[in-house]
Every structure is written in C-alpha cells, then in structure tokens.
Symmetry: C2
Subunit: 204 residues, 2 copies
DNA sequence: CAACATACGGAGGCTGCCTCCGCTTTTTCA
DNA sequence: TGAAAAAGCGGAGGCAGCCTCCGTATGTTG
C-alpha cells in the first residue's frame, strides 16, 4: 500500500509514515475499547497529533476502518486458503468460512453497521473489501451447492448480508449467552422444521 | 395514556396536549422522510416549538419513538388477533406474525437499531414494547412447534432478533430487489439443504 | 380578575466533525 | 553543507446537533 495511490516519484516523508502507523495502532486500541463510533478527535488526541493530521491521513471514519481491516484481510485470506486446502467437505468449508467472516465482522463493536453501508455505497473505501468477501462467499457457496449441501436459491450476497446481520444482533445479545449461537444455527437451518415430504402436519 | 403516569389531580394544560399531538404528527412525518436519526431540533423547528418544549415532552429519541410506536402497537395487536382467529395453521400463523413484525420494524428508516438496543437495555422506553412482542412471538412459535412446524431448539427471542436483523439489512439491500425476500426465506429455511434427502436429488 | 401553577422559548454550554492556513520539518540539490 | 522548495503539521474556528436552564407567557382555579 505504501505510496501506491500516489503517482509521485517522491517517497513519502518519514514523519508521515510514522504518524500513520502510530494512528493505526492507537485507533485499533481505541476502537477495541470503545467501538467504531467513538470520537475521532479522541483518537487524534490520544495519538498526540492534531485533528488536521488525523484527517489528512484518514479523511473519514470509513477510510480509517478500511485501513484497519487491511491488516486483518491478510489473516482472513490466509484462513480462506487454509479452509480450501484442509477441508474436503464443501459444506463444512462454507460453514467455516461463514464463521471466519462472522469473527471478522465483529472485530470491533459496531463494525457491522459501516460494513452494511459499504455493501451498497460503492463510494465507501470499504466497498471493495466487502465485494471481495461476497465473491469468496459465493465461491464456497457454489462448491457446497454442487455437492448438494446448500439450497440452490440462496446467493452469496444474501449469506454475506446474513452474516453481517447476525453479527449486528450479537451486539445486543451479549447479555444472553445462547443467542449468538442460536442465531448462527437459525441462519443455517432456519426455524421451520424439516418437512421431509410435503405431508405437512395435519394433526397426527 | 393521558395523564396516566402523572399522579396529579390536575388535568394537563390544553396547550401541552396540543403540542404533544402536533409534535407526534410532525415527528412521524419527519422520520418517515428522513429516518429515525434525523435531527430532533429540526422536528421541533418544523413543529414551530422551541427545543425546550420538545425535550420536555420527549426526553430522548427513544421516548419519541416509543410514543410513535404506541399508535402502531394497536394495529399490530389487531393483526395478532386477526391471525389468531383466521389462521388455523399454526406454522402459517407464525409466518404471518413474523411478516407483521418485520413490517412494524421497518416503519421508519433506521428503526431496527434502537429496537435492538431496547431488547437489552431495560432502561429504554422501548424495552417494554419489545418484550411484549417477544412474548407474542414465543406464543406463536410454541403453537407451531406443537404442530411440528418449527424446530424445537429455536426460541422466540431469537426469532424476534432475527426479524430485527433482517429488517436492518433491508436498509442496505434496497438496491437489490431480491435480497429482502431472500433473507426472509433464509431465516425460514436456512441455507443448508435438507439433509434427510441429500441422496434423493430428484423428486416431488 | 387576580394569583397561582404550568408550560414555553430560545440562548448558551457542550461535544464532535471537519477545514483552512500559517508555521515547522524534511528533502532536494547545488 | 546550507539554503530553497516541497511536504506535512497543529489547532483555532466554523458548523451542527444534543440538551439544560430560567425568565417569561399562558392557561387554570376560585
């Protein structure tokens, strides 16, 4: 990423790079402690830089988040590869990938919200990231579908949004230990009982 | 509701009641147009009252929302009764109730967020409302379960949160016509293919 | 129609977002 | 090495939104 967007022939100043690194570290810590909606000025202050400096590096909250998620992207890609190579059962692979996505989406408190926004607003710095993961989800999903492990009408985009939704709820369900797991299961199997044949419950 | 919380022997002043009514109408309109996160001062201004008056009537955004949802509560209760009396199939009844809940939760743009918060924060004026609907969901769910239409491990609370989650996503999926429906289906049947007949591919 | 209770208005304090521009630091190159 | 030029920094300040406080206006009561 270093000086990739800038077409200049000059290297970025060292203090600039240092500030950027430091800001990222501090932001990571701050978001971890107070969630992604916490004050950006507080982060700047905590990092010991002025507001101007902060905003020059990260013009928006989304830009900062995108930079923070960049680091985790590598982990997630690694996870994807690990699943692909180690898990031969495609349905299990899809499950593992969705779990990984879920963990990624809950890296910070309140993260699902900007992610959801990014799915539709292609102006967001997070948009590309999300799009990539939707594609990956679609790949896992297609594999599972070929093996009869996933319903044909479900789309990768819907699964991705579903994961975001469940991660979003998780923030509220904290008090209830069972809810997160219950909701994941809900998305996997739904609430309806498996009506093996269409011979629905006509009073046994 | 009129003067129910106040133990005073005096009737509320007429201008107070008038202001309250007017504020509710204006807020309804404003939230419909700009979502629940729009400026409260803007609503006060649009209603032609000072900020102080506004906050005296509705100390918080949640209080205002609770008051607005009060009106819709009657519709929702009516819907509940209608479903109970007209729908003999308990599984269909549950589906209809979840649809009604979903519609209720998307009355305004951004409504799912404060609703989710209310599910856990019992200090919120919306908490009681949510709790009531969770109970109702549980009743429909139990009925469906008795008739074999719902998985035994699913809880009403999870379904309620699931509906909120899907409604929340809907805000992002607007651009994609198919997503809302896809997500509702996802919660009903899950993404996994029915395992029982994994080998028998061709049928009905 | 007092006099009393009640409610109103909006100024003002506070926080957070973001921009702008004078000043400092770094880099370049003679 | 030591200017000049380029790049980056800081934080004051403008703006918007939340919410409170208290002097004033308006209903209500006898």
């Amino acid at each position: 990423m270093t000086s990739s967007t800038e077409a200049s022939g000059r290297r970025p100043r060292t203090d600039k790079q240092r500030n950027r690194m430091h800001l990222l570290q501090v932001a990571e810590q701050h978001f971890t402690e107070h969630g992604v909606t916490s004050s950006l000025e507080a982060i700047a202050k905590r990092a010991g830089v002025g507001a101007g400096t902060f905003y020059r590096h990260f013009p928006s909250r989304e830009a900062l988040l995108a930079a923070l998620l960049q680091a985790r992207a590598e982990q997630l890609v690694a996870r994807r590869e690990a699943i692909r190579q180690q898990e031969s059962d495609t349905t299990t692979a899809l499950t593992l990938w969705l779990d990984a996505l879920s963990e990624w989406a809950t890296a910070f408190d309140g993260l699902p919200e900007p992610l959801r926004a990014a799915v539709t607003e292609d102006t967001s710095p997070l948009a590309l990231t999300c799009q990539g993961y939707i594609t990956t989800t679609d790949e896992f999903l297609h594999a599972a579908r070929r093996d009869g492990g996933a319903r044909p009408e479900v789309r990768g985009r819907d699964l991705f949004l579903g994961v975001l939704a469940m991660s979003w709820v998780r923030g509220a369900a904290m008090a209830d230990e069972a809810s997160p797991q219950a909701l994941s299961a809900l998305m996997r199997t739904g609430w309806a009982a498996p009506a093996a044949s269409a011979e629905t419950a006509s009073n046994p």
